[in-house]
Subunit: 341 residues, 2 copies
Amino acid sequence: PNEIWRTRARARLDTLTKPLGSLGRLEDLAAQLVAIRHEHLVLPLNKAVYVFAADHGITAEGVSAYPSAVTHQMVLNFLTGGAAVNVLARLHGVALHVVDVGVAADFDNIEGLLHHKVSNGTKNMLREAAMTDEELSRALLVGAQLANEAAVAGHTILAVGEMGIGNTTAASAITCAITGSAESLATGRGTGLDDAAHARKIAIVEAVLKKHFANSTSPHPLEVLRCVGGLEIAAMTGMILAAARNRVAIIADGFISTAAAALAVALEPKVEGYLIAGHRSEEPGHRLLLDYLKLTPILDLEMRLGEGSGAVLAMSIIKSAIGLYSQMATFTSAGISEASL
Amino acid sequence: PNEIWRTRARARLDTLTKPLGSLGRLEDLAAQLVAIRHEHLVLPLNKAVYVFAADHGITAEGVSAYPSAVTHQMVLNFLTGGAAVNVLARLHGVALHVVDVGVAADFDNIEGLLHHKVSNGTKNMLREAAMTDEELSRALLVGAQLANEAAVAGHTILAVGEMGIGNTTAASAITCAITGSAESLATGRGTGLDDAAHARKIAIVEAVLKKHFANSTSPHPLEVLRCVGGLEIAAMTGMILAAARNRVAIIADGFISTAAAALAVALEPKVEGYLIAGHRSEEPGHRLLLDYLKLTPILDLEMRLGEGSGAVLAMSIIKSAIGLYSQMATFTSAGISEASL
């Protein structure tokens, strides 16, 4: 982000008919977006959300309350418009794109889906690396190319979301590898595990980290992604890196997409200024990642759904911030007295 | 609110294509609104915000960073569409009504303003009661009648906001009288006082409380409103009471409107179930009131503007909650497997 533009944005905010700073974080968000875009933004913002779907070999270990087939079923739900992210995208004027980057099912040439399948899901990371080098590269490129296309199409702000049964387990492993957190702190209940299943999931994350990184205290982010990541997580990492290069703001959603954001920042620290945390998820590992990234989320509504739902909801707040920035009267234009004390 | 309808709402939420409870507070909000309205709500919600404007005699004591004339000037800004609440109401499909209940200026018959002036502002509560009994009654009725009209017009959800230079001083005095909080904790910097002016404001709130309630540890809410309230605060209290009687949900905004809500609940505890806290303001007294009312705000964006701005912004989240409630697919309709663990 460009600091001269951020200063210009702050100066403009101080001319608007409100006490100085009284719009709080809405002012910070407006200034960040202006600094990212190098222009005084107006509405509409041209917003899009990309939902990346992929399956996870680790589900063989019983880490999720839902069967793996739900990834495929939920993609069909996205395509028919019935999922939470569909409703929120419609309500808030956000273009929704659903991307198959590795679902373990054949969609044939079904319409409305972006077909970028790298493989039929990752391998079981308890036994072997989740991906090969080639699979990792291809998944990263899927996201990067879509971000480049979105930038060319004039999108100024992108949200990333995901669907992949088992992917909180991958996100927990990534969180531990990147932040050094304990597995028990970074591993939550996902879609709704009971106590026994939660304890088993923690033990699996511990075993996964021991298998891949026992001899490495700070593994390279790409090695983390390849060994314990997911195809949808890699695609989101690629999208975040490319969006920042294109001066497009990125709204992270919950735990999984913020794990992708943490990997992107670990690979390229400059990405941080382009990131906005849409909300704070109930998954405990999300807090660890937000602290690591020094991000304060816009919303805190105890959501834990994924799909980009929290990020799209936050876009309504961001839209409001830019609406206020561009449409409010100034003290001069409205003939209003300024503060006297 | 009707608990049978709340249970029906919860049952419906559990059929939607998401892990149980994963929409967090959005589910609570949807269930509360259904319980208030006794029906399965759909969009549009038919939302309105009422901004009540009035002046305060206490401004003679130098309690605000802005001159009293700004109340009048900002009402004109509301009428020409340049204030923050105008922008937010336009963006989020909320009907905006501006009500003169006691501005110390003559608006003649200017169009677009609801003319319900009770007097040219309150009297200086450091010297005498802010209002007479008759002024209090008339101000309460202004709000109550507008709420009744809004209910007849089919509004299902109302936000209350205000404009009145000096009204954080009144809200601080109300907070102390109702919750028993110390003046130093309940008195903030309003639109932006420096340290010295802030200390003076605290001393004034202490003197005001001593003058009116030295001999009364728990004064009657109507006596609090009459002695240390404001005409716009009384009108909001009247609106909140009448909205609840009409089964219309009420979104409180920041410190001042929540003071009105606390008075309404003190007068009629059943009002509590109809209240939603739109956001958490930066004014320290607001936290005391939210604790007193046991309300958790939807948003926490460090705003401190008033005008109903935080409440209208929160309406975009409430709209989302009802959109999800009414438009998401169910597990059965989408053919999705349910949780197996």
